[in-house]
């Protein structure tokens, strides 16, 4: 196979950073928090680069949709081995439907054989963009992929299910979303990071792709709050004490 692969990369708040709720409950306090490439998209980038290294792909293009700061995650993907990057600039991070519409326009421009992206982002956990993009393109989809094998004009993809997994034959072009199990992403060493700075990163505006100005969000955020706090518990001396507490105090045994 000699695939052209488009990988979608989202910038997210670093999942190891604690987010806070604004005091008035109007939303999340995210200003100034460290950001990173969505870990699931990182797996997608890694898979695309491995396919190229194994001779199954001709080119790996990485694309993001959002504010100018998304360039940083594109640079990460370039350092991991993608050849070039596209940023469709929007004033705000779009919600999944709007993101899928933007990505569909990028796909129509680039004509890849395969779109790879994470199964969800670790910030909003919507998990909608891959299936929405496939819908807008009328393409087949394979979600939560934990194994990907190139075949004759199609891919063989193993997808995680509620119980066990299934292997599907996926005709191309298609959208695949990556589970964490797909691979372990490489760490880009300094020379690769330096080299990535010279790789092409193209900035696009919605009108360049014939897209209308971004529409307002479809989901209206009313309130953000912290989940009910769990009181710190008790440390017991031994198994017998634990069982007694579970039986007589918590009454769950």
């Amino acid at each position: 196979m000699n695939l052209k692969i488009l990988v979608c990369a989202k910038r997210v708040i670093d999942p190891n950073v604690k987010v806070h709720v604004r005091a008035d409950g109007s939303g999340l306090q995210l200003d100034g928090l460290r950001t990173t490439l969505n870990p699931f998209d990182e797996v997608a980038v890694e898979e695309a680069v491995r396919l190229r290294e194994a001779g199954h792909a001709a080119e790996v293009v990485v694309a993001s949709v959002g504010p100018a700061a998304c360039r940083e995650v594109l640079r990460t993907a370039l350092a991991m081995g993608a050849e070039r990057a596209l940023l469709l600039e929007l004033p705000h991070e779009p919600e999944p439907l709007a993101a899928a519409k933007c990505l569909a326009a990028l796909v129509r421009r680039e004509n890849p054989d395969l779109v790879l992206m994470g199964k969800q982002s670790t910030d909003h956990d919507h998990g909608q963009t891959p299936a929405m993009l496939a819908a807008l393109l009328g393409w087949p989809q394979a979600l939560q992929a934990s194994k990907l094998e190139p075949g004759d004009g199609a891919l063989r993809v193993t997808c995680e299910l509620d119980q066990g997994s299934e292997t599907v034959e996926l005709p191309l072009p298609a959208v695949v979303s990556a589970d964490l199990r797909l691979n372990e992403p490489r760490y880009a060493a300094l020379p690769a990071v330096m080299k990535a700075k010279k790789k092409p990163l193209e900035l696009l505006q919605p009108q360049d792709l014939g897209l209308p100005a971004p529409a307002p969000a479809r989901l209206h955020l009313q309130r953000a709050e912290l989940p009910a706090a769990r009181g710190g518990g008790r440390v017991l001396a031994d198994a017998a004490g634990l069982l007694a507490a579970l039986r007589d105090e918590a009454r769950v045994l």
Binding site: K18, A135, L143, G164, P171, R181, A224, A239, L246
Partner: protein, 318 residues
């Protein structure tokens, strides 16, 4: 209000967790149920006795229809029936199908809902459960996936059964993935994770696949489902479909044992709504102790035999 609840079926009964969507939708008014998949017809009689159910539509098929074929069909059904809500439990099939359907209708779906406030307002967690967001959806059709751990399945009623009606499956779609092989988990009689009353989960502290397997007798003694942290799954100690956490399953049992699990936010996201959390960990500084109700700072393998024999010796509750 015209609410359509999607119930994937397996082997003649609703899939594990699928009925949580019916529990969630009770608040929305009378329900139409669309039972799909292998044995949907057999499952229909039971569904027809559940509260609020006005009609059961049966899409009997040897396998759950793939999203590529099903999404346009479902979009058309929602339009034809004037649906105000399309609801399903956030299982793998609806998670693949509902966003695809929503995009065809130029709508957003609201996924992983944990609370229905009213007909157009829903609560869902973000940032691995660090915050809950309340969202209003002004569209005429709201498409929701709900967390199985957040809603109780409804109990059958003594009632006149709702009418059951077969519907023709969607036409095949050639531009679609097609199943080659299904890898089922070992049929070892183990309890399903979704909906389990007790869950026994192991983490990196179990040390090996053999160490992880030492939790199974305890799970068996408790009638518990076996779960795992991402670390245990990544290390190959436990199968992926047993993972509890942000990227695995969300559970809310009455009793949750976290054994050799440090308690990363990622894991917390999937089990924090458990009624009682028990942690056993060698490391007294492990984050799990900050939110466990009961803790033992001990070597897991030294404690296991005492726990097992203690449970076996418990007199039945009177």
């Amino acid at each position: 209000m015209s609410v359509l609840v999607l119930v994937p079926c397996d082997d003649g009964r609703p899939a594990d967790g699928a009925l949580a969507a019916l529990g969630a939708a009770q608040a929305l008014g009378p329900l139409q149920v669309l039972a799909c998949g292998p044995g949907a017809a057999a499952a229909a009689a039971g569904l027809a006795l559940l509260p609020q159910v006005q009609r059961v539509l049966v899409l009997e098929a040897p396998a759950l229809p793939r999203a590529e074929a099903m999404a346009p069909w479902l979009a058309q059904q929602c339009a034809a029936r004037g649906c105000t809500h399309l609801v399903a439990t956030a299982l793998a099939w609806p998670r693949a199908l509902l966003p695809r359907t929503a995009a065809l209708l130029d709508l957003m779906a609201v996924t992983e809902v944990v609370k229905i406030v009213d007909a157009d307002t829903f609560v869902r967690p973000v940032h691995a459960g660090a915050a809950l967001t309340t969202l209003r959806v002004p569209d005429a059709l709201r498409i929701l996936t709900v967390r199985a751990s957040a809603f109780e399945p409804p109990q059958p009623q003594v009632r006149e059964p709702a009418p059951v009606e077969a519907v023709a499956p969607p036409p095949a779609e050639s531009r679609s993935a097609s199943a080659l092989q299904r890898q089922l988990p070992q049929a070892d009689g183990s309890v399903a994770l979704i909906g389990a009353r007790v869950v026994v989960s192991g983490g990196r502290g179990t040390g090996s696949a053999a160490g992880f397997d030492q939790l199974r007798p305890l799970a068996q003694a408790l009638g518990a489902a076996v779960g795992a942290s991402r670390a245990a799954v990544d290390a190959g100690y436990a199968p992926a479909d047993r993972q509890v956490g942000q990227t695995g399953k969300s559970v809310a049992p009455e009793l949750y044992f976290a054994l050799g699990i440090s308690g990363a936010v990622q894991h917390w996201a999937g089990m924090k709504d458990s009624k009682v959390i028990v942690a056993v960990n060698k490391d007294p500084e492990a984050p799990i102790f900050q939110f466990a109700d009961y803790g033992l700072v001990a070597d897991l393998f030294e404690v296991l035999p005492a726990l097992q024999s203690g449970i076996a010796a418990l007199p039945p509750r009177s």
